[in-house]
Symmetry: C3
Subunit: 268 residues, 3 copies
Amino acid sequence: MINLRNLERDLELIRQKSPLVHNITNYVVMNNTANALLAIGASPVMAHALDEVGEMAGLASSLVLNIGTLEQSWVEAMIIAGKKATERKIPVIFDPVGAGATSYRTTVCWRILEECRPSVIRGNASEIMALRNAGVQTKGVDSTEASHSALASAKELALQTGVVVVISGETDYITDGKMVETVCNGSRMMAKVTGMGCTATAITGAFAAVNPNMMEASTHAMVIMGIAGEIAAAQSRGNGSLQMNFLDELCNITIDTVSAKLKQTEEL
Amino acid sequence: MINLRNLERDLELIRQKSPLVHNITNYVVMNNTANALLAIGASPVMAHALDEVGEMAGLASSLVLNIGTLEQSWVEAMIIAGKKATERKIPVIFDPVGAGATSYRTTVCWRILEECRPSVIRGNASEIMALRNAGVQTKGVDSTEASHSALASAKELALQTGVVVVISGETDYITDGKMVETVCNGSRMMAKVTGMGCTATAITGAFAAVNPNMMEASTHAMVIMGIAGEIAAAQSRGNGSLQMNFLDELCNITIDTVSAKLKQTEEL
Amino acid sequence: MINLRNLERDLELIRQKSPLVHNITNYVVMNNTANALLAIGASPVMAHALDEVGEMAGLASSLVLNIGTLEQSWVEAMIIAGKKATERKIPVIFDPVGAGATSYRTTVCWRILEECRPSVIRGNASEIMALRNAGVQTKGVDSTEASHSALASAKELALQTGVVVVISGETDYITDGKMVETVCNGSRMMAKVTGMGCTATAITGAFAAVNPNMMEASTHAMVIMGIAGEIAAAQSRGNGSLQMNFLDELCNITIDTVSAKLKQTEEL
């Protein structure tokens, strides 16, 4: 279960140190994930040129790789940045967007897992199952499965790769293959905002930049996402206002709000 | 004139089936068009890598091609995806953004028309006239002409290519070269939000995914765009809030709203 | 000090003529900068293909170059468009995003300065100091220095290159190396919205399109940015609503608002 003092400490560290989070991510969400990182207190940079991506990863406190709109030269940039990050021992957070939708995506995911050695993988149920060859077909970038269906795959993937795996969905699961944390916050409306998953991955990058415990950092990120999303959804008429209110909530979230709203479950 | 029962059926089908709409579109609007597709109930995917674009089009229920920020490799991706879509007989919706502004754009448009055989073309008046070599100069991506000026070009283009042509503007015209439907909803403020036209094209992709009658699907899309935009504009102080309110209205639009607000004209 | 009649004239000219502003800019901000240009009354176009970028710059009233997510082919496009703009004597506004963060960015900046001969450079303090080799390390794309720290570098850079240099920050400084204008409007919250600096550069493109006096055009742009941002921030709970309210304020700003809110300082 979550230690609220540690979560409070991480939030304060992000806001004090404003860690540089280097993102190589997709076109659809760049604006939102940059704003989400600014809202929580981090300093985002988006850079993908082969000529600078290693140097930029050399300055960063964490690296976020997201294949949402991948193509060959971007994948090469991810590999270079990922290797630099691994060499520097800064955390690499990987978002396998659309794994299982096309064979190219699945292949690229495996290449990144092998060459960049991420610290955390965050995906929806279909994506995580696809990475375990669990014979699921991802529908574009949307999950076709409930999050608990992917828990076995997530545990296996975590054990196999030594990575913390996060499945986001109605309940979020965070596992290193042995322990499992859950977060039951959030709102169904969040799935109506494009790139909410990508934003969760970016926010994980902010927490991982200040907390070397990847299970804890990832869980903290999912708690903050879920609670900010839940409060924002309650004020929103549709996905337009939700996208805006979510950023506002991220700006204002405090440990008292988290303490009042946190929902976990032990039932696995 | 519009059959409201058919429009209601299409809206329900989109919300029930959540069809996968594959977009190869421009950087400016990706976030908004993805959110608009989610708002109406569809499932958007943005993918342009040569390595996967055929496979992704192979999963989709419709394909949206938009040249707003085109370049060579993206055009190749559009051709591959377009051919796959034609082969699978799923509808291809084409947005000739900025046709007539540069000779490169006009040339690419003709290549896409010939090689991808779209089902629907949606553009502003200048763009549609440029495709008919009507000697108009598009001002960047904005129209220099009122929508009715392009009606003759639209009809000719439709007859020549067998495509349904949509001119959006103060009055929207939808034609297969013989019949013409009109939609008079909307608000002038919509032209102040970047990519509203691109969003109309994407929404047409959602309707075309569930309705094989392209005249009807395109008209339904323009009705929904116009009415959601009109209601949103009445609540908005500027283009920032209009962009947000428009998405919220798309999320909440019902056949009763459409029935109360619909404005068509028979005067051509 | 600012001549309010000239500012009013520029605002009216932008709204009447709706000048075409050609942007080669970064993925993160394209949507916002296009909307900001529409809000103020200009007509934005984003185009970067080597096949059309010269022709598009040939139609435009000003050109905005922004290296936020640069890569080789985009830099080539900037050079081609920049040369065309210089040949046509339309103003080139340059945003050296992240100069000083990586050596690649700094090198590209110098290439653009030499080959495109911009009329205005707008950056944050770190970026401007980096262009003068002032031994500062930019933190990704965020400044590590207060704006006044860069004033000496800005003046030297302006004298060396013949360019008007704008440092944005809590106080904005606009200098041609001899004169210095200041603008003290704005809000600290603006730094929480990604791409606010890029938007300032784009808005400078709109003013430079209608006013050949680059000192004045740049100062007008910074006044409008600062006042719209300040009013928007006072109504906003976080960076989500600020991004939206800022666009709404740009749509509605009048010379009376400017006159009531303008803050300058003579103390340098």
